[in-house]
Amino acid sequence: MFGGTGRAVQSRVAATGLSFTFYATLAVILMFLDQRGHWLDYARYGLSAAAYPVQLAVNSPSAAWHWLRGIAATRATLQQENSALRAENRALELRTLRIEALESENAKLRALAAALPDVAQKWLPAEVLNVELSTLRQRVVINKGASSGVFKGQAVLASGGLMGQVMRTGPWSSEVILITDPEHAVPVQVLRSGLRTIAVGQGNSGVMTLPYLPVNSDIKVDDLLVTSGLGGVFPAGYPVARVTDVGRDPGQPLAQVHAQPLAAIDRDREVSLVWFMPGHPAAPAPLEEVAPPPGLASAPQAVPTEPK
């Protein structure tokens, strides 16, 4: 490496062909192991732990900005916010009273002895790190990982509705694939008509499509889409999106339906990780019944879209 003579330079340059073959083969082997066998999950786990300090460093300016704004908030704005929150809390409380009545009524209708508890068993708030992953993919990093019990395939909710699912966990951070990612699909149900279909992301944080609906299907603008509980990841009944436009071209077999996600996907910094009660009627079906065995399961999405 300190070769000053022409001969040394020659031999060095000649060696790069060999080392290129070596590194290229190494990369291909790595890709094969990572993609096919999932044998590198432990290596991934360690590497994401190594990446976490850098991600925190990148996140720190925006975190510092939020902290400063929190400090600089005046008494008046805090009081205003407090009263607004109190009013909202009262409204929610009133609605919960009603929900409890409805729940017991529903349980009676279903001829169940006791009212069913809520399907969500445990909540864990997490914060989105302000770190950009690949530009054309809708993914985020959150600051809770396997050390907090987060697992792959866990549902992530934001304040407005469904946000996505955990795709990869590290010790202190995890990667979340959003419902708007082009590789993600959510099994949904139209709340008004009970029509079941699949909502696919578009790579754009404001739009989802429903590509598998026939022209004559019963769907209208402003219909609410909720999770249908099929697919083994998300429980039934969580709001996902609202239909924004329905295009029916008589020459086409399928309708062009677009919907807008209800969760503020590009704005929400606070998300919630949810654990669901197994055995609850609204809980997602156990994975073993739906997906292939764990060794073969490769795609993290609820319904794998076919590779194009």
Partner: protein, 159 residues
């Protein structure tokens, strides 16, 4: 060891670290589409101006870092970066003596080739390919080349 043989390893490592941070800093959606591949440009520069400092091990390591940060298949960016760096090292004497304008064109071609390899691997591994916008960043990368090479040339003794 004579002065000519000192390899700018510290500058190389530091500039790549800064480039990696530039690559993951969040930008508004419109800007992030045209965000140049900073780390690839920096690796390209060091492959051309100090080919013996990092060899191919350094590009491979940078590619793995990109894979981890962007959540790609492990080895995807590694393969693309090693291939581009290998070509750059092979022809470094040729490229080094070109005027800056032609160097920028070569950088554009190298970045497009890099994106082509990543695109192919995305296709093989079953990721969706419907984004035509991914071909924009080599253009901004080529435009940025004179700036990057101007800044990095000040960190070491150019040969």
């Amino acid at each position: 060891m004579n002065a000519r043989a000192v390899e700018p390893r510290a500058a190389m490592l530091f500039s790549s670290f800064v480039a990696l941070i530039f690559q993951v800093v969040p930008l508004p959606a419109g800007l992030s589409i045209v965000r140049p591949a900073f780390l690839v440009i920096v690796v390209l520069y060091w492959s051309i101006s100090a080919p013996r400092a990092g060899g191919l091990f350094f590009p491979f390591l940078c590619g793995l870092a990109l894979d981890v940060f962007q959540g790609a298949v492990l080895g995807e960016h590694g393969l693309a970066l090693v291939t581009v760096a290998f070509l750059a090292i092979r022809f470094h004497l040729l490229i080094r003596n070109k005027p800056l304008f032609e160097q920028a064109l070569i950088a554009f071609a190298a970045l497009a080739f890099y994106e082509f390899i990543v695109w192919c691997i995305d296709g093989f591994s079953g990721h969706t390919l419907n984004a035509g916008l991914r071909w924009l960043h080599p253009i901004t990368g080529g435009l940025l080349w004179p700036v990057v090479s101007g800044v990095l040339a000040r960190t070491h003794r150019p040969r």
